[in-house]
């Protein structure tokens, strides 16, 4: 299965992936609209930086996902290797937030549910927005 991988050699810590991610999943249709009026949609990817090394982190779509195992309502599930969240079932207990070893699960703006990377399968982006938007090929979607 194709997964998103990051290459810290080329990450510039420009944080654009975060913005492309947030906009793609905001449902607003455009970057400007997503952030209009001071809105701050939350990205599902986070750039870690410092000491000259930067990289973006998002869900690793683990083979043995701790988040899915821990989910108390079955909101998180694995389908074709992609782990996604059924927000209608999430009760906002944050068990998964605490169990993800990579810290890749974020909390929605109104704190009611969790949000996570689902490789842009649910939005209309077609391919992961971070991969498409990264200016330096530091995030790739590939089979390994």
């Amino acid at each position: 299965m194709k997964k998103v991988y990051v290459n810290e050699d080329w990450c510039l810590a420009c944080h654009l992936c975060e913005y492309y991610c947030a906009a793609a999943n905001s449902g607003a249709g455009s970057m400007i609209k997503a952030f209009a009026g001071g809105k701050k949609p939350i990205p599902r990817i986070k750039v870690e930086e410092g000491s000259g090394i930067n990289f973006a982190v998002q869900c690793r779509h683990c083979d043995e996902p701790a988040c899915v195992k821990g989910c108390i309502t079955g909101a998180l599930s694995v389908k074709d290797g992609v782990i996604s969240c059924d927000e209608s079932r999430c009760v906002g207990c944050y068990t998964c937030v605490m169990s993800c070893p990579y810290g890749c699960i974020v909390i929605s703006e109104d704190s009611s549910v969790i949000q996570k990377c689902d490789l842009c399968l649910k939005n209309n982006n077609g391919e992961p927005a971070c991969v498409k938007g990264c200016p330096n090929g530091a995030i790739v979607l590939e089979e390994r």
Partner: protein
């Protein structure tokens, strides 16, 4: 300073309706133009520092930025232009020599744009390059005068060493130091994939790049940086740099601050020392001296590699080229006054040298007149901007061209001409690790390969239109060229007729 004698050249314009305050521009501008004011939740810009490299414009996710010329003008004066006045103010402030980068930007004539190509009509029909074979392969080096036979009647194929190019384009000399390691890697990998050559420049060859040796031209310049046995052996050809189009008669100076560990090892000089290339080679004061160096290098490489001598196009270039052809060199590279550089005194860059088109035409003619054209190949450089320029250069007599600026453009350079500051926002003319990173060679080399493939297609199409099916047949074919808007003298030097003739 309380009084700003001169004003910023550009104005950074941010469309606040579009800006989402992502701060990407702030993070990507090494000139620290953009900043975010948390208190007022607003992005602000300091246009004074902007060099118009277009990096922020290119990465802004909402297209919120425009860099415009500062509309502020000094009182109009055709003699004392704003630029000249600004330069006087700057020098009055600093007391220093003005430095610039990249090629001469002044409004001198561009002869490529005053030359038109021919096409076949009715007789000698055009050739469709997609249906019929079309050869862009060329060999650079000495060409034997006649065919020699062995005693048993077979052809003696013992030829002087040559360079084989899949298309008549090479990447010109840009040293590691003046450009980044990632830029070098992009050039080296592209040359290898394309079956052409890139040139180390005078900065030596980084140990990681020896593997690209078969597609590398190694340069020996007046500073002799990084020259030793393995270096000479690594390359496919050795180039002696006598001059550079951007700064004829001037040496080079890479400040000690840029001589970091890797560069110091590659150049074989201590870390932090200035790398000074003298203006002359201290052992070359005549063609005889040059001949000695040519043959020392041939001897050192067992006569297996062609030797290139590179000169700047200056006033008596034809006579100089004739001397070089007689010095034993296999290839002459001529660099026109529009050639690029990482740093040159502005006055030299803008006022010294001659156009490559004229230099090429007169050198080719002179070597033909003297019957020694086959002794050397001619490679021209100094602003070859498109495949049309390549075709015109070949028809004027060149065997191949060197491209430098066009290659850097493919890598992202936007010709802000601030290379000398070492803060290239595109990761090209810099050694700052965070900036070098911005040029990912995996992306860079593919863009170079695309560029040359595109040019190769266009060259074939233009040749096909003329009914010519190989670069060999186009070379020196000045009947395929006509001038427009040129004087008798210019046409005479170019050796072409005027359009309509």
């Amino acid at each position: 300073m309380a009084i700003n004698y001169y004003q910023p050249l550009y104005e950074v314009m941010r469309d606040r309706d579009r800006c989402i305050k992502c701060r990407a521009c702030e993070r990507q501008c090494a000139n620290e133009v953009h900043s975010y004011d948390e208190e007022c939740d607003v992005m602000i810009s300091d246009s004074r520092q902007c060099v118009d490299c277009q990096r922020c414009v290119s990465i802004c996710p909402t297209n919120a930025l425009k860099i415009a010329n500062n509309p502020n003008t000094f009182r109009q004066n055709s003699n004392w232009s704003q630029q000249i006045m600004t330069e006087v103010y700057k020098q009055a402030e600093t007391g220093g020599v003005l430095l610039s980068a990249m090629g001469n930007p002044k409004e001198y004539p561009v002869y490529w744009d005053k030359i038109l190509l021919n096409a076949s009509q009715v007789t000698n029909p055009p050739i469709d390059p997609l249906r019929e074979p079309m050869e862009t392969k060329v060999f650079l080096g000495k060409k034997p005068k006649n065919v020699k036979f062995n005693k048993d009647g077979t052809i003696n194929t013992d030829l002087p060493p040559t360079l084989e190019l899949s298309t008549p384009i090479m990447f010109s000399a840009m040293s590691y130091g003046s450009i980044s390691k990632n830029a070098h890697e992009s050039l080296a990998r592209a040359a290898t994939e394309l079956g052409i050559y890139y040139n180390t420049g005078e900065g030596g060859l980084h140990k990681d790049f020896y593997k690209y040796g078969p597609n590398t031209i190694v340069q020996v310049a007046s500073g002799r940086f990084g020259v030793f046995r393995d270096y000479l052996e690594a390359g496919a050809a050795v180039e002696i740099k006598m001059g550079q189009g951007a700064k004829p008669g001037i040496g080079g100076h890479l400040p000690g601050a840029k001589i970091l560990e890797d560069i110091s090892k590659t150049r074989m000089i201590p870390m932090g020392t200035d790398a000074i290339s003298p203006a002359p080679h201290h052992d070359i004061y005549s063609i005889e001296d040059l001949r000695q160096l040519v043959f020392s290098l041939k001897e050192a490489t067992c006569y297996k590699k062609p030797v290139i001598v590179k000169i700047a196009a200056v006033h008596n270039v034809a006579a100089i080229a004739s001397g070089i052809a007689r010095s034993g060199a296999d290839i002459i590279a001529i660099d026109g006054y529009r050639g690029g550089t990482g740093a040159a005194p502005t006055r030299i860059r803008d006022n010294v040298g001659i156009p490559i088109e004229l230099a090429l035409a007169s050198v080719d003619q002179r070597l033909r007149d003297e019957g020694i054209r086959n002794e050397v190949s001619i490679v021209v450089a100094g602003s070859v901007r498109s495949s049309a320029d390549v075709v015109k250069a070949i028809a004027l007599g060149a065997d191949a061209v060197y491209i430098g600026t066009a290659a850097l453009l493919a890598l992202g350079c936007h010709l802000c001409r601030s290379c000398q500051t070492g803060r290239c926002n595109w990761g090209i003319a810099t050694q700052r690790p965070d900036l070098v990173k911005r040029l990912n060679p995996d992306i860079g080399y593919k863009r170079l390969v695309n560029l040359i493939h595109a040019w190769d297609h266009e060259i074939k199409e233009m040749m096909g239109g003329m009914g010519i099916n190989s670069v060999e047949a186009l070379r020196g074919n000045r009947l395929m060229l006509r001038g427009v808007g040129l004087t008798e003298k210019e046409l005479e030097v170019l050796g072409i007729q005027h359009a309509g003739q």
